[in-house]
Amino acid sequence: MENNKTAWERLAIVHTKGRPTIRDYIPLIFTNFYEMHGDRHYGDDHAVMGGIARLNGTPVTVIAQVKGRNLNENKECNFAMPLPEGYRKALRLAKQAEKFHRPVICFIDTPGAHAGMEAEERGQGEAIAKNIAEFMTLRTPIISIVLGEAGSGGALALGVCDELAMLENAQYSVVSPRGFASILWKDASREQEACNIMQVTAEDMVRLGVAETIIEEPLGGAHNDLDKISENIKEYLSLKIQEKCQKDIDELLKERYTKFRKIGEFQE
């Protein structure tokens, strides 16, 4: 792994044109992928996709945020910023996975939940809150992987899991560095400075207890070798899914609760 890069340099890699998205990974990691659409309440959000597939023959449910590979694709998927119905689709598919005893694999790749009038009107806050609460007690294993950016509650809505892995250059943050600079310093142009002090890298996540694993990227970034990065992700998933599926589900839920329960620093 490359250890000498700043958070800002890693963010540049994540933003490199040609960085693989979930649409690139699915055919290389899974077989028999069937996409499922809609939240059954309002509509089908294109920033979140989901479906069922096989991983080494084992049935799994896949839920992912969708980044576009060009402007047209990004318009189609709203730059991976989900609407409430995207989160509700995710929850529907997670519940379906629970019913049929399939593990859930979430791929996180979003700058944040969509901020807009329609999102507010349809309950963006409620949709995210509901996912967080329901995923905490979902009676099937959940593994989440951050592919690129993971911003704010919009990422956490797919991030309550038994184990979180970060691709080597991926970042997880309370808000995008730009938003952070804008909120705290009223100056969005200080985003580089924000990015470097916010502690957002994969290593930071492991140290802070947010993530368990870092998945190595090919030299220079995932875009340099799609086959290799897909293989690394598949290898990780194969190992973890098998490990989590062997666990007693009540034990697993207890560990999932504890994973989040212990994050925080305070004195008394």
């Binding site: 939940a113 901020a115 807009g116 009038m117 999102a119 507010e120 009107e121 349809r122 309950g123 963006q124 806050g125 409620e126 995210i128 809150a129 509901k130 967080i132 609460a133 329901e134 905490m136 007690t137 704010s152 509650g153 956490l156 809505a157 991030g159 309550v160 997880y172 943050s173 309370v174 808000v175 938003g179 952070f180 909120i183 705290l184 002090i197 916010m198 502690q199 957002v200 930071d204 996540m205 802070l208 947010v210 609760y257 989040f260 329960r261 994050i263 925080g264 620093e265 305070f266 004195q267 008394e268």
Partner: protein, 281 residues
């Protein structure tokens, strides 16, 4: 709003000492003035337009629970500095000094018309009641305590969202609190949220939205993304009433809007209807 304070002070100092005018309150919404003591008697509600001003956590507890029944939990918990954020420690020391608070939420047990409940109240004077480690931990413990003791929980929310100065650690408090609420919920416990001004960001996207019953005070702000963010990034003009309690009720996210003067009796009745009863104090 912080404006309340400044308006009151300004009007006080404008009067001369000789005629000793009664201090006045100028409402930031309707702009009318009324005697300050009248505004205070109404627990900071404007007598002209029913504007509900912000209360401190202590004031809120005093007007909500039975006299002397509040027993605080985790009173001494203070935050560390998980991401070594510049000036965060100093800022908190100053705020602890000026507000008398340890962080942005007070939790404890209390009785409302004789019925025991766990209660949590956020205080917007402390870093806009943003959620960091202490807020997350205290709320989580409050739900765990309620769960162990078969008690209901009433949370008065107010928040600007996640506490930026704690980075990703603050985001994880959304998961921690929501997890504890889910366990309390699955065990059959009642959770009532009272949304107060303003309830936004990560708090809206976690414990504020998870109540069995969601109450809001009139005309308060409720939302996930801020109005300014939406207007600037989406180039959308937003309606006047956007994200007000009445708007959110119309959209289906608030059960009832209750005026401050009726909150205590409403809460007491809701607890009672759910089978929680008077116990010996």
């Amino acid at each position: 709003m912080f404006n309340d304070f400044f308006n009151v002070v300004k009007l006080r100092f404008n009067g001369t000492a000789d005629d000793e005018p009664a201090p006045l309150f100028k409402c930031p919404r309707c702009q009318n003035t009324s005697p300050l003591n009248r505004y205070e008697e109404l627990h900071r509600v404007c007598p002209n337009c029913n504007y509900h001003g912000r209360l401190s956590a202590t004031e809120r507890i005093a007007i909500t629970v039975d006299k002397d029944s509040f027993q605080e939990l985790d009173a001494d918990m203070i935050s560390c500095d998980p991401i070594n954020f510049p000036d965060y420690t100093e800022k908190q020391e100053e705020l602890r000094e000026s507000t008398g608070l340890k962080d942005a939420v007070i939790t404890g047990t209390a009785y409302i018309r004789g019925i025991k409940t766990v209660i949590g109240v956020m205080d917007s004077r402390y870093m806009m009641a943003s959620m960091g480690s202490v807020v997350g931990e205290k709320i989580t413990r409050a739900f765990e305590y309620a769960n162990e003791n078969n008690l209901p929980v009433i949370m008065f929310t107010a928040s600007g969202g996640a506490r930026m100065q704690e980075g990703i650690v603050s985001l994880m408090q959304m998961a921690k609190t929501s997890g504890a609420i889910k366990l309390h919920n699955d065990a059959g416990g009642l959770y009532i949220t009272v949304l107060t001004d303003p309830t936004t960001g990560g708090v809206t996207a976690s414990f504020a939205s998870l109540g069995d019953i969601i109450i809001a005070e009139p005309k308060i702000l409720i939302g996930f993304a801020g109005r300014r963010v939406i207007e600037s990034t989406m180039k959308q003009r937003l309606p006047e009433d956007f994200q007000l309690a009445e708007f959110m009720q119309e959209k289906g996210f608030v059960d009832m809007i209750v005026e401050r003067k009726k909150l205590r009796s409403t809460l007491a009745n809701l607890l009672s209807i759910h089978g929680y009863s008077e116990k010996e104090v």
